[in-house]
Amino acid sequence: MIRRAATIALLLALPVAGVVAGNGAGGDYATLPGGSFRSALDYEDIPGNVRVAPFAMMKRPVTNGEFLAFVQANPQWRRDRVPSVMAEQRYLSHWAGPLELGTDATAAQPVVQVSWFAAAAYCEARGARLPSWNEWEYAAAADETRRDARKDPVWRERILAWYSRPSSSALPRAGLQTPNAYGVQDLHGLVWEWTDDYSSLLVAVDSRKQGDPDNARFCGAGALSMDDRDNYAVLMRVAMLSSLDAPDTTANLGFRCVKDLP
């Protein structure tokens, strides 16, 4: 319950984007070189850096308009037909109808109220997949000019400022912010995003019970902890993802897809 409450508090504190010029073209990908990367998460079983293979990432989150086209082509993902074990009741509830966006959901806004199953199905239908946490964090470490801006206190504050603004106003369009050094937009300051391995983030409340014989919830070692405690923006993402179940949807949670590169 406490974890839920904390998540809700986090979600209320969601970003409204710093608006800059530029409109991302639909669904195209930026190429990210692979690399060795220091995650803000500390993996007990992986000392040092994590390796990220080269991949391509959608330049901006998937929009309502794009998701509508997917639902039209795949009617099993209509909100009135989807199995409730794969998408909870609030799935696409901001749309006017099962196949109609209406006034509260414009085509250019990032789609939200999507479950992990629905997001994964969308990417699969596009010959892509959801990013891993490591891929997302790697891409999101960049600012407009540097591939890793995380040590810059000014940039950190800028990101945090987004997170601390109220989310009561409507979501801006996707693709309005200046691209980062890889050419990717909106990783910060617009919506939260699913990762494929969201349910591997066994942190916070969970890992405290690690090794407690009276509450042996976990098999084996390998708990995660935060290696970089000043990186609150990442910490909030991880806390949010680690509290979600696969059918869950929220008013600020969207996604984007990635592809492997040969």
Binding site: V85, S200, L202, A216, G220, A221
Partner: protein, 189 residues
């Protein structure tokens, strides 16, 4: 209509949905997830083939040193709380999160070592890229570790004959949660 006939009719009506395997699955059935399972006998079937009787479902992997043996213990402990007739009506399904290693032979080894009655117990692996989906509908979290082990939550989920989740327990070991046992007994009534 005499009382006996009324009872017989009521029994029929209760039994009917469970046997109507061709009827559409309810929207809240975990069997809506399209996934194939390969069991300890090497048979591959859609997991919706498990439809038709109440089931306890959990996830595990055979090389696990710590909690996974406890998951088998937990299933056995719940069985012990049931009458022989109740035991016969409850299926127990353990699904591997490690399909790369848990082929039918590896699963069969656990069946033999733990003396599991395969009339009631099913050990099975999904395709590797479906593990997180199965875990997703069952509410189980896991991470593959660098050394081949897994860090994961443990749960047994009680499903009705159509795959709807009735109850779940994360209390592993030889002393099952009495509330969960009561839910199992209720489901077998």
């Amino acid at each position: 209509m005499n009382l006996l006939r009324a009872f017989a009719l009521a029994a029929l009506m209760v039994a009917l949905p469970a046997t109507a395997a061709d009827a559409p699955l309810p929207r809240d059935s975990v069997y809506q997830l399209p996934v194939q399972l390969t069991d300890h006998a090497g048979t591959t079937r859609p997991w919706s083939a498990l439809r038709g009787q109440p089931r306890l479902v959990g996830m595990f992997y055979t090389s696990c040193q710590y909690i996974c043996p406890l998951i088998v213990d937990s299933g056995k402990a719940i069985e012990r709380q049931l009458s022989p007739a109740g035991q016969a009506r409850l299926g127990i399904v353990l699904i591997s999160m490690d399909p790369a290693r848990d082929d039918p032979a590896a699963l069969k080894k656990v069946v033999d070592q733990r003396k599991l009655d395969t009339a009631r117990w099913t050990l099975a692996s999904p395709p590797a890229d479906e593990v997180r989906s199965v875990a997703g509908v069952l509410g189980i979290r896991y991470r593959a570790l660098a050394d081949g082990e897994f860090n994961h939550t443990s749960a047994l989920v009680l499903l009705d004959a159509d795959g709807r989740i009735l109850a779940r327990t994360e209390q592993m070991g030889s002393k099952p949660d009495p509330e969960f046992v009561a839910a199992v007994k209720q489901a077998l009534r």
